[in-house]
Symmetry: none
Subunit: 385 residues, 2 copies
């Protein structure tokens, strides 16, 4: 990718694909082409002016693309990206937007390897934003503003693929998080799929109780009930493919949940209130830590770590994975390119409280790391090292 704006092809004109196309147009691109197999959907997307061109075939849409994004169902990703890989320029970056990553990432990688079609330029993606609406009519250029966008590099992924795509996605307003595909699927089982099952089960139990006694109005009363069951109202048709596609991880999460719930049940049954208090206190602390209320002061307390990089592959993945494994949240990430000898540096912005630990963790992972003393915004890629 050169300094010029990238030419982007988005495959799939559903809510996410159309929103990506709109968002890319808004921040500026060499050109944006949208592809959809459905002529009716193409017509609607074109009428809405979602992309400069709306085409029906992948090969004709990717011929000059710098970035190809497949916003199609997980099952269709390997086929769509294989077709794109053959027709796109050799340097084009390929990614997808499916919410499960392990199966499709491995499948795409092995197909591209087998076809000698450049597996190093592919990295799986998962924009964690959506809407209850669907189709190009629901497209929203702001959909990814502030949203987390997971990227799931493998050993086959080139560093440049990850860094260039990250930079591109941050321009759309997304917060990029890199993690291995298996870990991605395990985490979403816990933070997305398990909450859905838990909320649905709670709504079902409340329905049982209220059908028996007939006093629905009390359910409406509690903000706690409203919040805890809100996602239970989702359409099951959307969830079954996700739960079945991530079955092993969902089962593991369900077992962990049932085990913890049994601890609570026993504590209540045996009136062990001190034990219950400890369980609830731990959960309370965990919730406050996982979903912190950001204060302006806390936001100000950020600091930068500099990680010098050489041209060995996988250093970026090593760094982000090591920080992730240590529970250190990367607030911001940027590459500094050095003029001399190709050695640049990765600038990692973390909470000031995590600074020392971040240096330790990166050092332990075999990377050089030191505290940045002139903490200018790491976004400026032309900062001199």
């Amino acid at each position: 990718m050169t300094a010029r704006l990238p030419r982007v092809t988005v495959i799939g004109a559903g809510l996410v694909g159309s929103s990506i196309a709109l968002a890319v147009r808004e921040v500026g691109a060499g050109r944006v082409v949208l592809v959809d197999a459905d002529a009716g959907v193409r017509e609607r997307a074109a009428a809405l002016g979602i992309a400069e061109q709306v085409l029906g075939s992948v090969p004709e849409a990717v011929g000059d693309a710098d970035i190809v994004i497949a916003a199609v169902p997980a099952g269709a990703v390997p086929e769509v990206l294989s077709a794109a890989a053959v027709a796109a320029p050799r340097a084009a970056i390929l990614t997808d937007a499916a919410s499960l990553k392990l199966t499709s990432t491995l499948d795409v990688t092995s197909r591209l390897s087998d076809a000698k079609a450049g597996p190093e330029r592919f990295v799986g993606g998962h924009p964690m934003a959506g809407s209850e609406r669907s189709g190009p009519e629901a497209a929203d250029a702001q959909l990814f503003q502030g949203a987390t966008w997971g990227l799931t590099p493998t050993a086959a992924t080139a560093d440049a693929t990850l860094t260039e795509l990250s930079t591109f996605l941050r321009r759309l307003g997304a917060r990029v998080v890199a993690l291995p595909p298996a870990q991605h699927d395990e985490l979403v089982a816990v933070v997305s799929h398990l909450p859905q099952v838990v909320a649905s089960t709670l709504a079902a139990v409340a329905a049982d109780a209220i059908e028996a006694t007939g006093d629905a109005v009390l359910a409406v009363a509690g903000g706690g009930f409203r919040d805890t069951t809100r996602i239970a109202a989702s359409d099951p048709a959307l969830w079954i493919p996700i739960l079945s596609g991530n079955r092993a991880a969902v089962l593991e999460a369900l077992d962990a949940y049932a085990g913890r719930l049994e601890q609570v049940r026993v504590a209540v049954a045996e009136a062990r209130w001190e034990e219950l208090r400890t369980l609830l206190a731990r959960a309370s602390t965990a919730r406050q830590r996982l979903v912190p209320k950001a204060t302006p002061a806390a936001l100000a307390a950020l600091a930068d770590v500099v990680v010098p990089m050489d041209d060995r592959p996988g250093q970026l993945a090593t760094a982000t994975t090591a920080l992730g494994a240590a529970g250190i949240n990367v607030e911001d990430l940027a590459m500094r390119h050095a003029g001399d000898g190709g050695r640049g540096a990765l600038l990692v912005r973390v909470a000031a409280g995590d600074l020392d630990r971040a240096v330790d963790v990166l050092t332990a992972a075999g990377l050089g790391a030191h505290v940045e003393h002139d903490a200018a915004a790491p976004g400026s890629e032309d900062a001199s090292p």
Copy 2:
């Protein structure tokens, strides 16, 4: 009670008692007297002008009362209302505001019967509104606007007691629901206590998973996780007395929940997707029925506005000031970071009924603002190719 406005005595100057006193003053009353045993609390309540008089002893505060409301912990209700019954006029209505009803209702009724102090003029009450704040400083005259207020008459309660108190509470904006005390406690076990346990357990399991893998950031990503675990952040000190006070009903609710969850687990384990679809569909229908849209209670639900921020200083202050000036209460506030170039977003949680107005106000203040799409709702990947 005659056509003249009732003289009201509220015992307990905590959040609920002080809010009742303020609400009563706002709708008009013969007089409002507040009682608290703590001299410091009395002083603060008096300084805040929460009631016309703030006294330290129950007998001197109820001598001419038409309605006496004990807003004290459940364990203190019988003693406080027994003392009030003796000193208050024979026609005065007596009620309380504790969140559990069976034990205290039976206890008060039998004490008043034994003392021939008029058990027919007592009915237990439970205003289903609150706040994480406490004390007279947190008092809010609007706290009961649209809130459900349970009343739990027994065979001893006179019809006039129930109807007159209902009329009075509706003037405070409450939605009054009468039901037997045992049924009240069983229902709140399901719609209030069980959600607390479910949410806390989910937060604990997520904390386990994230401590193991280290990627806290994904938890923040999902609106579903945020909502489903919100009440897990509560102070356990508030919940232990409730869970222990309602132990039998809580255990029954937990057993029902564990049973339903096991059905889901088996369906996932044995890949019975049609059965799982039926379970989820039933839950979805139940949730939509239990928490219907466009009711006052649904309006009390919360919703998020996303305000994209750039690195101009003072945007946070602009947003909060604009909302404050428009009388829109900010229920919660968080930053989402984008990463590159400082473009993150501010997440502002407001009452759903204020949502459109909040977007208008923020837009008028020169900020971009849009409604948060539900990141938990899948479908983002369901774009048609």
